[in-house]
């Protein structure tokens, strides 16, 4: 256990700059999405028990805390998708450090607006907007 914590700690405190932050966030969002997908398959399974049981499950997702987690989920999927694309580009096409830095910013130029739009669609109903 101490081993696992020390190797995790080394992974977090390593000073690798933007590429390292990208890596940490890729893992955190990846774990988050994998856990949600697992939960989502289990909740969807309840549909087999009929309308009443499934409505109760859907009701759980309507509370404001879940809506906030929904925004985090959407951000995670978008970030993981576009950062993953950046990783693939670097894997197959050994770019210069200049291009790598540009790709890192490009990921955020795509992820931030898309996440904000998703946040608006998700959170507006809670505040009675839209």
């Amino acid at each position: 256990m101490g081993n696992a914590i020390s190797s995790l700690w080394k992974g977090i405190t390593y000073k690798g700059g933007p590429g390292h932050y990208a890596f940490i966030l890729h893992r955190v969002t990846g774990i988050g999405v994998a856990l949600f997908v697992t939960l989502h398959i289990v909740d969807n399974f309840i549909v087999m028990f009929g309308e009443e049981a499934f409505s109760e499950v859907l009701h759980l997702y309507s509370n404001p805390v879940m809506r906030l987690l929904e925004v985090f989920l959407i951000f995670s999927v978008i970030y993981h998708a576009f950062n993953g694309l950046r990783v693939i580009i670097m894997d197959f096409w050994a770019p210069s450090s200049h291009v790598q830095r540009m790709l890192w910013w490009l990921v955020w130029v795509i992820v931030i607006p898309l996440s904000l739009i998703a946040a608006w669609f998700t959170l507006a109903p809670i505040f009675g907007l839209r």
Binding site: S7, V37, T38, V42, E51
Partner: protein, 131 residues
């Protein structure tokens, strides 16, 4: 002057295959596929339909309506690719941080069991749902 990092990119040796190489390759292929099918799924469910409007009847229409077979195939593809991609990622994380052989093997065995149960539940739901 541009500094090209020679350490990056595919190794120059010939492609030899093997489970781990295929797993690495699978993550790239499924990643690009999921960029399309998972993002479209989110767009439909969270923006076009919106989560607060989803009811039992929405599921009935989606899986048993005129486009039912299409959406069932779509959801099976999403289920299989998302789970394989996600659980392989978790397996890599276990390999990175859990070095003790016993724990490493135990956690990966547990991960495989959860994977099989969840993919079974998902496939049973998508294929078996009749409304």
């Amino acid at each position: 002057m541009e500094i090209v990092n020679k350490e990056y990119g595919l190794p120059k040796e010939k492609f030899k295959g093997g489970f781990e190489t295929w797993a690495w390759f699978f993550m790239r292929i499924s990643g690009v596929m999921l960029l399309l099918i998972a993002v479209i799924h989110l767009l439909i469910m969270h923006v076009f339909i919106r989560v607060e409007n989803i009811t039992y009847n929405v599921v009935v229409d989606r899986w048993t309506g005129a486009w039912g077979p299409f959406w069932k195939a779509y959801d099976i593809a999403l289920l299989v690719f998302a789970l394989m991609h996600g659980f392989n990622g978790l397996r890599w994380i276990i390999d990175d941080y859990i070095k003790r052989p016993g724990w490493n093997a135990f956690l990966k065995a547990l991960l495989l069991v959860v994977f099989l149960i969840v993919i079974g539940m998902g496939a049973y739901t998508v294929i078996g749902f009749t409304g």
